[in-house]
């Protein structure tokens, strides 16, 4: 029973969007595409929200614009680039992989690689120093002898 209730809750509560009823398209397929696009685009006004999440007037205008483009027969890609042409790559919540964004996408791996290299070299050097060159001091020899005698 509990499970059924939980399932029912999850099925009937929609995630919170700023998309208003009068914006929603009659065609559910187009509307679903518009939602997918809206989630990918940053609202230039509030900056940390997608245009689907934002209550800003401009976000609403952009949502309507995207629905218009889709109704006019634009592909998802074309509708997104329509916005990007005006507001720049900045509005893409997922930055594309291109030369200008290589540091962004590859930086973490490069830093991890460098750290791994340094750690490996350091540890290898230390082990070699330990095993090859270090011998026990007379004091240590005496303490070991002492321990062995007593146990």
């Amino acid at each position: 029973m509990k499970r059924v209730l939980i399932a029912l809750f999850l099925a009937t509560t929609a995630p919170v969007f700023a998309v208003e009823p009068d914006e929603i398209l009659n065609d559910p397929i187009l509307e679903a595409r518009a939602r997918d696009i809206g989630k990918e685009l940053r609202c230039p006004v509030c900056q940390n929200q997608s245009i689907d999440d934002s209550d800003a007037n401009l976000a609403r205008d952009l949502r309507l614009l995207i629905r218009e483009r889709l109704k006019a027969g634009d592909s998802d890609k074309a509708a997104i680039s329509f916005i990007v042409e005006r507001y720049g790559n900045y509005v893409l919540l997922r930055p594309p992989l291109k030369p200008a964004t290589y540091p962004l996408w590859l930086g973490p791996f490069i830093i991890f690689g460098v750290a791994l290299l340094i750690a490996t070299l350091y540890l290898r050097g230390r082990r070699r120093a330990d095993l090859m060159t270090r011998t026990l001091s007379p004091d240590e020899e005496r303490r070991i002898q002492d321990l062995m005698d007593h146990h």
Partner: protein, 175 residues
């Protein structure tokens, strides 16, 4: 390798320099892809029937400052005196695009404060503003003689912004 223990210090200094330059950037300024592109095509009606509106072709021929404003926009009031002054000095033509406003209120607003605009286009739907990449009034654009956008300023245009960003560009185009 004697000074290799200083390596972390260099890394730290590098990061410090990176973060410090980052602090100087205003994160609310969105870089515009439209700078150095031709101004978008538009054709807007005027605030009042009988007056001339504003269209792309009107931007040709002379350096123009395109200012997006609205009577409901408080920061627009702040920058307005500078626009009036620019109009008086006559160094650059100033045109206005009235963003999502009621023509009557825009008219009254300009009657009270003085009208710095050579021409005004009424963008009641805000669609032309989207084509220009506007995300909040006021915004000002420098458009060169060939109708190409050369600079974009977001927010209140202060005399400091004008002298630092616009004047050097204008001097370059006047030569």
């Amino acid at each position: 390798m004697r000074f290799s223990f200083l390596f972390p210090l260099f890394v730290f200094a590098g990061l410090l320099a990176l973060f410090f330059t980052g602090l100087g950037h205003d994160p609310s300024i969105v870089p515009s892809p439209l700078v150095n592109r031709l101004a978008p095509e538009f054709n807007l009606p005027s605030l009042e029937a009988g007056e001339e509106g504003l269209k792309t072709a009107d931007l040709m021929g002379t350096l123009t400052l395109v200012n997006f404003f609205a009577s409901w926009c408080l920061p627009c009031k702040v920058e307005h005196p500078l626009l009036v002054k620019l109009k008086k000095e006559g160094r650059i033509r100033v045109v206005g695009i009235n963003y999502k406003d009621k023509p009557k209120e825009a008219k009254r607003w300009l009657a009270e404060r003085g009208n710095p605009y050579d021409r005004i286009g009424a963008d009641s739907s805000g669609r032309v503003a989207i084509d220009w990449g506007v995300y909040g009034v006021p915004e000002s654009y420098l458009v060169d003689q060939n109708g190409r956008i050369r600079w974009k300023h977001v927010g209140v245009l202060t005399p400091g912004d004008w002298h630092e960003d616009f004047v050097p560009l204008i001097k370059g185009f006047e030569k």
